[in-house]
Symmetry: C2
Subunit: 229 residues, 2 copies
DNA sequence: CCTTATAACTAAACGCCGTATATTTATTAA
DNA sequence: TTAATAAATATACGGCGTTTAGTTATAAGG
């Protein structure tokens, strides 16, 4: 006859599962994520989790979307902390926030941009909205630089037809922007990701405070290369 | 009394295990690596592998060292294919070879520079020799550029004391070079790694042939920024 | 030639894991 | 009060890395 609502000892079990998952990821790394371990900590049985996530990959996808959202919040907040007319100031704020977020949540960063879960591949259609949003801060500033005629892209490689299509989804969720701006954003993203991912993975020698200096140097390089004046 | 040597149906089982491991990694990705699956394919039992590797991590370490060696061979071959006096030509050859190797062996690239194995962390002391050698091609060319006075590093961040120590091991295995050259090499490495890792992980929109153009653009940027004349 | 030490293997088991199936429990509308 | 059903448990399967104990084949020493 009816359709009961939800009750429970734990009020919002769906959220509690994600919370415990993040706690385990922070402590033992993403690859160590285990439904059974989560269930143990919540004092439920492992199959109970399947009422909230159809399988482990779905949980991981939910975590990735949350991580993208957290990352995107940080990016947008950094952008909006600088006055709208100070475009280079916004650029720098975004760049600094990128690394700071990554150093604060290295496991989340690797969850998003690495491939730390055995056999897991993120379903593009589910993840893309939050992913594109997280990069929209950078894209929007570059687009405004372009509109202001401050984007220095004289010798930029010509964008080819086959390559334009790949950006359509990005534009849909990341905000309307010229494909040139999207491409420049991608290049900038690749540069900061290069340093940050090596740093987080421990593939660079211990940099100490010089890590900051090197990162700032790269940000200055980007400014000089891509921004006029 | 005695100490038997080795026999067996499979002559060099240690190598055969690694061969099958690479086959599985190429086909299903590094995270899917399984001792039992390797054993099945070799028609032995899983514990037999423990005669050749004390545990799965040791096998992974051996694979990583092999991958670094393959990668380093490719880098050194690219360097030596250009005449010794053509330093910018050698730089470009190394840069192109970097991406080509990564695109040819994406799973190996992720095995080295990603963190694809659950709970695995590479033992630095074992891996560093082959790792440093793989970057020695780039380092050597930059060092020669520096010695020739062609390295443009006016505004380069000052290297701090605490940070010098981290490079000692690198220098030991990667060839003697000024710390300035090592730092520039690191920065260049971070840039190419940024693009290549995003590309391999599928985090960039499909670039088609524009992938080549963008990569070449970044290589040109590096040339213009760091090399005089 | 035959014993004996031992490297290299197999058999079996342990405790993990994700997940499917069947069953029980608790809630709630009719 | 009853019937429907969401949400949990109980149980089980096959996979994993790894440990332990036992077997087999080899080769040197007497």
């Amino acid at each position: 006859m009816v359709r009961p609502t939800q009750k429970k000892q734990i009020p919002n079990l769906q959220q509690a599962i994600k919370d415990v998952a993040w706690k385990h990821i922070a402590k033992h790394g993403a690859p160590a994520l285990s439904l059974r371990a989560i269930a143990r900590e919540l004092k439920i049985t492992a199959p109970a989790i399947y009422n909230y996530f159809p399988n482990r990959d779905a949980l991981v996808t939910a975590l990735i979307i949350d991580a993208y959202t957290s990352f995107g919040d940080s990016q947008l907040a950094a952008r909006d902390a600088a006055p709208p007319e100070d475009l280079t100031g916004r650029m720098n704020a975004i760049g600094l926030a990128y690394r700071q977020w990554a150093l604060k949540y290295p496991q989340r960063y690797q969850l998003i941009f690495g491939t730390p879960i055995p056999g897991y591949h993120a379903p593009l259609m589910e993840v893309l909205p939050s992913a594109a949003r997280s990069l929209s801060a950078l894209v929007s500033v570059i687009e405004q630089l372009r509109l202001a005629g401050k984007l220095n892209v004289k010798s930029f490689p010509k964008v080819q037809a086959e390559y334009k299509g790949g950006f359509e989804m990005w534009k849909k969720y990341g905000g309307e922007a010229d494909i040139l701006s999207l491409t420049v954003a991608m290049l900038i993203w690749a540069r900061v990701h290069g340093i940050v991912s090596l740093e987080i993975a421990g593939n660079l020698p211990p940099l100490g405070t010089s890590g900051d200096d090197l990162y700032l140097y790269e940000m200055k390089s980007l400014n000089q290369q891509f921004i006029k004046e």
